[in-house]
Every structure is written in structure tokens, then in C-alpha cells.
């Protein structure tokens, strides 16, 4: 099953490599990983999307908690949560593609944020699945470049991860 793990860790040099190293050393799967400092500059927040059985997830959780730099963590998939990913897609926008791209971007509530006579750059946010769906909806030959941030997540309602 797919899990979104949210980690609050000390904003120390090397903290990211401890997490990444743990996943590779124990051959846990990483689908995406995002990290940035939070409103408290001493902490950074990381979101990891991974897949594994319940047993593997139990180990991932325990091993992450064991890292000295990890202050707190949560498996967001255990409860109600919101996930978002940002994608920047540069697509061909010539001939019939020009109208078509704009139309599909609108359907997916994407925004065209850069335009040239041959290209559009579309900004799109949503769940990973929505971004996948967008890429499937457009003509594959029109895709020039795709950049995705990986998933960030947060609990719904008053579910918070705080120290």
C-alpha cells in the first residue's frame, strides 16, 4: 500500500542523507521525497511517499523514529489528510496543439505561466494521480519536459504534527 510519511526533523547538515541512506540501506522504496525548512528555522519538514506491506511500514516507522535527528513523525495515510504535488510541464503549442493544450490545462485547472510561439509551460497542482491523469490526457509527443516536486501532505482538520 501507498503511504505518505510526514517527518519533522532537526534542520541539521546531513539530516536528509540520514533518511535517504536509511531507505537505501534497508531497501525500502521511495516514490518521492520533499524537504524544506518550516516556520521554525531549526526544524525541517519532510514528506516521503513509500509503498510496502504493513510489516514493512511498521519497520520504516520504527527505523525513522530511531534516527537521532527525527523529532516527530506521522503516517498521514493513517487518517484524513490532504496531499498536493506541483508540476511544471513544458508542452508543444503549435498548430492544433495550441488550442488543445489550453483546453486541457483549463479542464485540470492548470495555469499557463510561460508562453512562447512554440511552447506553453503549464503549472498544475493536485494529487499525484491528478498530475498523472493530466499527462495521460495530452498527446505524449507534445510533452517536452516535465518537472514534479513530489508529494507534500498535511493532516485534515485539527490533525497537526507539532512539537
Amino acid at each position: 500500500m501507498r503511504h505518505i510519511i510526514s517527518i519533522m526533523m532537526e534542520n541539521e547538515a546531513g539530516a536528509l542523507s540520514r533518511v535517504a541512506g536509511l531507505f537505501s540501506a534497508r531497501s525500502y522504496n521511495i516514490e518521492s521525497l520533499t524537504v524544506a525548512p518550516t516556520e521554525d528555522a531549526s526544524l525541517s519538514r519532510m514528506t516521503i511517499v513509500t509503498r510496502g506491506s504493513d510489516e514493512v511500514l511498521e519497520q520504516i516507522t520504527k527505523q525513522l523514529n530511531k534516527l537521532i535527528d527525527v523529532v516527530k513523525m506521522q503516517d498521514l495515510s493513517d487518517g484524513d489528510h490532504i496531499e498536493r504535488e506541483l508540476m511544471l510541464a513544458k508542452v508543444k503549442a503549435t498548430g492544433e496543439h495550441r488550442e488543445e493544450m489550453k483546453r486541457i490545462a483549463d479542464i485540470f485547472r492548470g495555469r499557463i505561466i510561460d508562453v512562447s510561439d512554440k511552447t506553453y509551460t503549464i503549472e498544475l497542482t493536485g494529487t499525484g494521480a491528478k498530475l498523472d491523469a493530466f499527462l495521460e490526457a495530452i498527446d505524449p509527443v507534445a510533452i517536452m519536459e516535465v518537472v514534479r516536486t513530489g508529494t507534500s501532505g498535511i493532516g485534515r482538520g485539527d490533525r497537526v504534527l507539532k512539537i
Binding site: 547538515a13 540520514r18 541512506g21 510489516e55 519497520q59 530511531k66 537521532i68 523529532v71 512539537i163
Partner: protein, 569 residues
């Protein structure tokens, strides 16, 4: 009191003194020269100069294993640090509390491929409990405090503190914090009361109970609590290789070691029990073999461990208890004593009858009439001569297994071996660490001719530091454990397991200034040992026992097989 300004090098030395460190094992080099200069000027702790950094780390590690204190090693940057890595990984696999201080090139040179630069923090990351690169002298004292705290608390482990040379030169006000608290690190110590009660109930309802304990009982100083609980219940006990000495081996409740080279009674009882109390052990592959085979029999498992990630890692557990093993065992004993009924005596009697039947197969028997020296015999005699009270270190191979099987450890922290990583070359430096910690105590290093040659240069350290270690070389002429696997599983194709061109070990020992002996006949074994531990008590004696080259370690569970699938003699 006004804080005085000290250099980083002075701070390192002051921190070590403040931690009560008495011995530091190390080897100098450019990046740590400032620290060595301060060591020269102080008399709070003794520095032991080794001949290879790997040995410094093994010695510090064994110092810790035999005392429970945090071991300390000091090495220089680059090759000093890389040489230390095997030692660090060895300690990490066996959860040994240790602080390793490594020199680093000056901060401005980091990343420049400077002379003797390696990314020590990067290289050691997967084999330390934690590591630090100290970039500012003002963080040095607190980092040292954290290093000792992290190394010794929770599930212990090695911590590396990497210090650039300029940081050892810079100065700042020195203040060593007395305590430290970290928001990201709070190891659990007390077990959950509700879980403890569930465990007691399960234990008292058992028909075929077994207590299986590992290195966690040794590290947690819980041997007394374990012994008390086992005797209170009258339940059989087995120890892992790392757990030996956690329960007195000569005791009738003791089934011997379990696992790949465990006894029949221990392995069969483990496989067929209905309630298993696992304490400070981790169900690893060398212990239960194939987990699928293990899980074929239904049993309830209670698992006590200070590290939650050890629980339900290879085997699903019914009652997990996270906490200090000694505390939890004492609580279990308390509740068991207060319970309205004791163990089911009738079921227990039948279970013991079954166990005695397994035990009567006498799986550790060997040919006592052989004209060749049997390695098992040497260990038995060592046990007799030292009255079971020596510190025994070992290398890795057949000799290690024979030591574990035949030296009946009665106390914790007496059996010192690399169980997790299986590091050949551990034995001699480990014996140095133990002897430094326990001057005057008998220390035996049981080794093979392969292993001893991996750190034989340390004979010089032993001379310089006057360490009267007794080296028991079980010389079978082969990398014996490799030869055994080739005999069993590779149709006797002995690829590169014959160690030709052995040196004359007697001359070699003498060249280093020690006593050497060569023992070729069974009847000479005991007299040699008596002389070594008697007449030559205060000298290092290197005993080269020429043993039966074809002897194998039995019983044996082939890798990937189950506990009841032992190869017997």
C-alpha cells in the same frame, strides 16, 4: 565561576576527563596533533598506542563490553578514519557504546580533496548510532556531551565525532554541561505496565515455556534479574551467542546456546515451545534460521527490548514490551510472585522430561580418544584451568563456536566476541581492551591462525603496554569455518581455505618479546595452560595448539534451514 577560554584540543581532553574516561585507545596523525599535544600535557587518562586504528576501535569496544562504560578511540583523518570503520561497524552491529573521535582536515579545506581528507561522517553514517562534524569550537563541548549520552543510552551504539584541525586550534569559553536533553531523542526506559501484566499471565499459563535471551541482557546489566525470574518460574533458558553469561551456564535450567551451532535441546525447545519470552534478542538469521520454518509451530511470543525496531522485525510478536530489560524482568518477577497461581507444574514436568530426552543425545560429544588435539578439549581445559572465571575474547570461525559451546560462562561481560559483524581480527585487540580495564585478571584470546594474522601487529602494543594476555591459537591449518562449509556444501572443493606458509608462531612471539609455546599432543594441553596462567602469569603467552585439521563444529543448522533441521555429529 567564570568559564575559562580553552582551545578545541584542550576542550576534547577536558570533556573526556569530565566523562570519567580512564583509557583512550588511539593512533596519532596530522589532523589530531593538537589533541595529542594536550594528551601529552595531562594525566587524567592514559592513552594506549596501538599499531593499527582498527585495533584501537576494537580495544575501546571490548573495554566497553567488559565494563559497561563507554569506550573511547582517537584516530586521525583520512586513512586513520577509514581504518577505524571496520571497528565501528563491529561495535554498531553488537550495540556497543563507544565514542570515536576522528580528526578532519581544516574546515576551509573540506571538500577540496585535501591531503588525508575523507567524508568520515558520510562513510560512517550507516554504521554508527549517530555522528557529528563539529564545525565551530563553541559547539564542541556540547557535542561531546551529546556523543557520550547517545552512545550509552537507549539501545547503545558507537558515535563518531569528527573534528577539523582548525577547530582544535580555535578557542572559546569552556563549559561542560552536566546533563543534556534533546527534543529529538528520548529513549524509553520503563516498560508498559499493562503489557507487563499480559506477559505475566501468558507466562503463567504456559505449558511449554522457553526463555530466550540475547546481548540486550548483557548490555542492560540484567543478568541478575533474568536469573531470578527464571529460577522463580523454573523455566528453561537459552542464550544467543551474544547473550552468553546472561544466565549461568552450569545451571540445570540452562539449555546451552541456540542457533546455527546451538544445542539440540535449545533449538528443539525453541521450536516446540508454546510460550516464548524473548529478552534483548532479535530473532536473527543465525539464531532462528528460516523464519518461515520457525513460524510453522504456533506459539505466543513476548518480546522485551529497549529498541522498538527490534520487535516484530523478523517474527511477529504477540506481547511487545519496549523498555529497559532489567526493569521489565524485575516487574514480571514481582507480578508473577503476587499472582494467585504459579506455573502449571504438571505441564512443566512433562516439558522438562521432553527437554531431558533431547539433552540426553549429548550433542556436544566429541572423540576424546583421538591422538590429535581436539579443539573442544583445549577449551574444556581452559575452562578448568581458569576455573571458569577468565575473560574470554574470540575471533571469528570454528574456534569462536567451540569457545561459545565449551567455555561455560557463568557471569555477564566475560565473553567478548564479534557476533553481529563477525569480524576476524577482533580477538587480540579486544583482549587488549579487556586487559586494560581489568589489570591482573586472566584474559584469554581464543583464535585461529587465519584470524590472528589479521591484527597480529598488536603483539607490539601488548609489549609496550604490558598486557599479559594468553593467546590460545587453535591452529588447524585451515580457515576452518570456510573449510567446513566447503566440506558440507561444496563437495569438498577447498577453494583458498588452506592457509599455507604459516609463520613460526613461537619465534614470532619471541621476536615481539613474548613467550611462545607450540603444543602438539593432547597430554601437553593442560600442562601448557597451567604454565601460561601460572608461571607466566604476568607475561603474554602465545600458545600454538596444533589441532585436528578436519574437526567440524556440530550441531549445525545449514543457512536457510529451520531450527529442527540440524546436522549432528
Amino acid at each position: 565561576m567564570a568559564d575559562t577560554e580553552l582551545t578545541g584540543a584542550e576542550i576534547v581532553v577536558r570533556c573526556l576527563a569530565a566523562e570519567g574516561v580512564e583509557h583512550v585507545f588511539g593512533y596519532p596523525g596530522g589532523a589530531v596533533l593538537n589533541i595529542y599535544d594536550e594528551i601529552y600535557k595531562q594525566d587524567r587518562f592514559q592513552h594506549i598506542l596501538v599499531r593499527h586504528e582498527q585495533a584501537a576501535v576494537h580495544a575501546a569496544d571490548a573495554y566497553s563490553r567488559s565494563t559497561g562504560k563507554v569506550g573511547v578511540a582517537l584516530v586521525t583523518s583520512g586513512p586513520g578514519a577509514t581504518n577505524a570503520v571496520t571497528g565501528i561497524a563491529t561495535a554498531y552491529m553488537d550495540s556497543i557504546p563507544m565514542v570515536v573521535v576522528t580528526g578532519q582536515v581544516p574546515t576551509a579545506a573540506i571538500g577540496m580533496d585535501a591531503f588525508q581528507e575523507v567524508d568520515t561522517v558520510g562513510i560512517t553514517r550507516p554504521c554508527v548510532k549517530h555522528n557529528f562534524l563539529v564545525k565551530d569550537v563553541r559547539e564542541l563541548a556540547e557535542t561531546m556531551k551529546k556523543a557520550f549520552y547517545i552512545a550509552a543510552s537507549g539501545r547503545p551504539g558507537p558515535v563518531v565525532v569528527d573534528i577539523p584541525k582548525d577547530v582544535t586550534q580555535h578557542s572559546c569559553a569552556f563549559h561542560y554541561p552536566e546533563t543534556i536533553s534533546m527534543r529529538s531523542y528520548n529513549p524509553t526506559s520503563k516498560g508498559h505496565a499493562g503489557q507487563i501484566k499480559r506477559a505475566v499471565q501468558m507466562l503463567l499459563e504456559a505449558k511449554r515455556p522457553v526463555i530466550y535471551t540475547g546481548g540486550g541482557v548483557i548490555l542492560g546489566d540484567a543478568a541478575a534479574q533474568l536469573t531470578e525470574l527464571a529460577r522463580l518460574l523454573g523455566y528453561p533458558v537459552t542464550n544467543t551467542l551474544m547473550g552468553l553469561g546472561g544466565y549461568p551456564s552450569p545451571d540445570p535450567l540452562f539449555l546451552g546456546m541456540l542457533g546455527m551451532h546451538g544445542t539440540i535441546e535449545a533449538n528443539m525447545a525453541m521450536q516446540h515451545c508454546d510460550v516464548l519470552l524473548a529478552v534483548g534478542a532479535r530473532f536473527d538469521d543465525r539464531v532462528i534460521g528460516n523464519p518461515k520454518h520457525f513460524q510453522k509451530e504456533a506459539r505466543k511470543i513476548i518480546h522485551i527490548d529497549v529498541d522498538p525496531s527490534s520487535i516484530s522485525k523478523r517474527v511477529k510478536v504477540d506481547v511487545p514490551i519496549v523498555g529497559d530489560v532489567g526493569h521489565v524482568l524485575a516487574e514480571i518477577a514481582k507480578f508473577a510472585q503476587a499472582a494467585d497461581h504459579g506455573p502449571d507444574q504438571e505441564a512443566l514436568k512433562a516439558w522438562w522430561a521432553q527437554i531431558e530426552l533431547w539433552r540426553s543425545q549429548d550433542c556436544l560429544k566429541y572423540d576424546r580418544a583421538s591422538p590429535l588435539i581436539k579443539p573442544q578439549y583445549v577449551i574444556e581445559k581452559l575452562y578448568e584451568v581458569t576455573q571458569g572465571d577468565a575473560f574470554v575474547t574470540s575471533d571469528v570461525g570454528q574456534h569462536q563456536m567451540w569457545a561459545a559451546q565449551y567455555y561455560k560462562f557463568a557471569k555477564p561481560r566475560r565473553w567478548i566476541n564479534s557476533g553481529g559483524l563477525g569480524t576476524m581480527g577482533f580477538g587480540l585487540p579486544a583482549a587488549m581492551g579487556v586487559q586494560m580495564a581489568h589489570p591482573g585478571a586472566p584474559v584469554a584470546c581464543i583464535t585461529g591462525e587465519g584470524s590472528i594474522q589479521m591484527n597480529i601487529q598488536e603483539l607490539a602494543t601488548c609489549k609496550q603496554s604490558n598486557l599479559p594476555i594468553k593467546i590460545i591459537l587453535l591452529n588447524n591449518g585451515y580457515l576452518g569455518m570456510v573449510r567446513q562449509w566447503q566440506e558440507f556444501f561444496y563437495e569438498e572443493r577447498y577453494a583458498e581455505s588452506y592457509v599455507a606458509s604459516l609463520p613460526d608462531f613461537v619465534k614470532l612471539s619471541e621476536a615481539y618479546g613474548h613467550v611462545g609455546m607450540r603444543i602438539e599432543k593432547p597430554e601437553d594441553v593442560e600442562p601448557a595452560l597451567r604454565r601460561a596462567f601460572g608461571e607466566y602469569k604476568d607475561q603474554l603467552v602465545f600458545m600454538n595448539f596444533l589441532t585436528d585439521p578436519r574437526e567440524n563444529v556440530y550441531p549445525m543448522i545449514p543457512a536457510g534451514k529451520g531450527l529442527s533441521e540440524m546436522i549432528l555429529i
